[in-house]
């Protein structure tokens, strides 16, 4: 287990997202225990850990979607409430009812409701923005399609487009590649890498250990507690992985990951 050196090096004001002592419990069962993390700006960070390790819960606690038992969240040096407009969240695709009466364009527009307000109409510029966001994820042809008719990969693209419409600086994604085909995964990764090139920060809960080195710069390994955090090159190693997964990873699996290094 590391000593949290990253926190000392990175001051909260420099980090897009700083978590201190985040603790979450569902009922009386602790899910996340005193997790500290300071995420690197302009980087892609993967949150990695076994099922039930509290990865999704950590993201939700950071956003105040689930209540924290303890801990503090700082976003670009500000309290969460003051910086919400700079964050875009992409929940798990399966968390919503896709039979909801909305078109693809309707869903992307929902990302802009905070900017547009209660009563104002969408301006031509805002309408153009929503189209451009759909274009970016390759879904412009589906703008008027009912969302119930989309495939899993298309649903994930629409969710990413909705996040893009928020024009945020920090993107938090919960398993964005779960259950999508290889072509969609490639397309999504390309969009995320472009975002990073534009100076934005991406944090994603990620499951596929084989692609971590390809996609991400940084990793946060957790299993209820923080196991390790740092650059993929140094932190994503055999010792930390076996600690995170409680020694349950197969030897062949770890060897494959190490061979990529």
């Amino acid at each position: 287990m590391d000593t949290g050196v990253g926190l000392a090096v990175l001051k909260p004001a420099d980090s897009p997202l700083t978590l201190t002592g985040i603790t979450v419990a569902y009922g009386e069962k602790p899910v996340v225990l005193a997790v500290d993390a300071a995420f690197e700006p302009r980087a892609m960070t993967a949150i990695i850990g076994p099922n039930g390790a509290g990865k999704s819960t950590l993201l939700k606690a950071a956003l105040g979607i689930v209540p924290r038992l303890a801990g503090a969240v700082t976003v670009f040096g500000q309290p969460l409430a003051a910086a919400r407009s700079r964050i875009a969240y992409v929940p798990q695709r399966a968390s919503v009812d896709w039979d909801f009466p909305a078109t693809v364009l309707d869903v992307v527009r929902m990302g802009m409701y905070r900017q547009v307000g209660l009563l104002r109409r969408f301006t031509p510029a805002q309408k153009a923005r929503t189209r451009a966001c759909l274009d970016r994820v390759g879904m412009e042809a589906f703008a008027d399609r009912q969302i119930g008719q989309l495939s899993g990969g298309q649903q994930q693209r629409v969710f990413l487009a909705r996040a893009l419409a928020q024009a945020a600086d920090l993107y938090l994604l919960d398993e964005p590649f779960a259950g999508v085909d290889a072509a969609t995964e490639r397309a999504l990764v390309d969009v995320l890498k472009t975002l990073k090139a534009e100076g934005r920060t991406i944090v994603a809960v990620h499951h596929d250990l084989a692609t971590v080195r390809d996609y991400f710069d940084e990793v946060l390994l957790i299993n209820q507690r923080r196991i390790a955090m740092g650059p993929v090159g140094t932190t994503f190693n055999r010792v930390n992985l076996q600690t995170t997964y409680g020694g349950r990873l197969g030897a062949a699996q770890v060897a494959e990951i190490e061979a990529q290094a």
Binding site: Y89, A102, M110, R114, L118
Partner: protein, 303 residues
């Protein structure tokens, strides 16, 4: 012929006003019901409606005790809102603080409050002051003895509820489709849910006299699910459901005014249900016929 006269607002000034008030209420019920059903909280609305009864009875007793005749609609509605609010709070508290599942809490509140209300009504029947109170009209709704100002209260209340629904349509849409995203955007989910329930309560309370507390939930649900058959966009559903609700309530009120002693609520519900049944059959994409044709075509093309 009296029914046709009532339909065309020729059955007298009062009957016409009641029909127009009913239409406004029906429109509001359809619009609010759109978000109620999309948020899947229809059963809470039913419990809330049944929880109004003790409030109506207690408000009547209080007004009589204070020397009135106990028939002021505003007073009765205020009492119903208070007890519905208490019922809603109990459901929330039970689901939140105990291990009781929400559906059990809903069932418990619905039956206990309704039972208490029926006992109070029976007590009122035995009081000399209560003989002509007409409180049993609040169960299934009636247009009988409805005054000009009652119709105005109903129409104005419906208009306010409709405006509030329109103002909140975007947050409510987010709440219904993706509550996590709504929370991440900084919306307070608890307050949004409360706002939705406040709208439901407003429609319920306003509609008590006309539709009755037993069936008001149907006017919230049936127009909304009918509109869902015709539209794939929640923004349009609001207006469609409002239109279907307004039509059902208007025709129901007119029929009830022209046929003596027919309770209003059941007629409105039957009309709404007829529109629903026809829609279920012929709706373009989600209808039964459309589905059968699609399957038949598929079979023909692949056989």
């Amino acid at each position: 012929m009296s029914f046709l006269a009532a339909l065309s607002l020729q059955a007298g000034y009062n009957a016409a006003l009641v029909a127009v008030g009913a239409a406004m209420l029906g429109f509001a019920a359809g619009a609010v019901g759109t978000f109620l059903t999309l948020r899947k909280r229809a059963l809470v609305a039913d419990a809330l409606a049944h929880a109004t009864l003790p409030g109506v009875a207690l408000a009547f007793l209080a007004m009589v005790a204070l020397g009135g005749d106990g028939r002021s609609l505003i007073g009765l509605l205020a009492g119903s809102a208070l007890s519905a609010g208490l019922g809603l709070w109990l459901i929330e508290a039970m689901a939140r603080r105990t291990r009781l599942p929400e559906d059990a809490a809903i069932g418990a509140v619905l039956s206990v409050f309704f039972g208490a209300g029926v006992v109070l009504l029976t007590v009122i029947q035995t009081l000399s002051a209560g003989r002509q109170a007409g409180l049993e009209g609040f169960l299934l709704g009636s247009t009988a003895g409805m005054l000009w100002q009652d119709a105005v209260v109903i129409a104005a209340g419906g208009a306010v509820a409709l405006c509030a629904t329109y103002v909140l349509r975007r947050p409510l849409q987010l709440l219904a489709f993706d509550p996590q995203q709504a929370a991440a955007l900084g919306y307070d989910l608890r307050r949004l849910d409360l706002a939705l329930m406040a709208l439901v309560m407003a429609v319920t309370v306003i509609g008590l006299k006309l539709v009755g507390l037993v069936l008001i939930v149907a006017l919230l649900i049936i127009p909304a699910v009918t509109a869902r058959l015709w539209s794939n966009r929640s923004g349009r559903m609001i207006w469609l459901a409002g239109g279907i609700g307004a039509l059902s309530a208007y025709v129901g009120a007119a029929l009830s005014a022209s046929v003596a002693d027919v309770p209003t609520g059941p007629i409105m519900v039957l009309i709404a249900a007829a529109v629903f049944a026809v829609s279920l059959l012929v709706a373009p994409q989600r209808g039964i016929l459309a589905g059968a044709i699609r399957r038949a075509r598929l079979r023909r093309d692949w056989a």
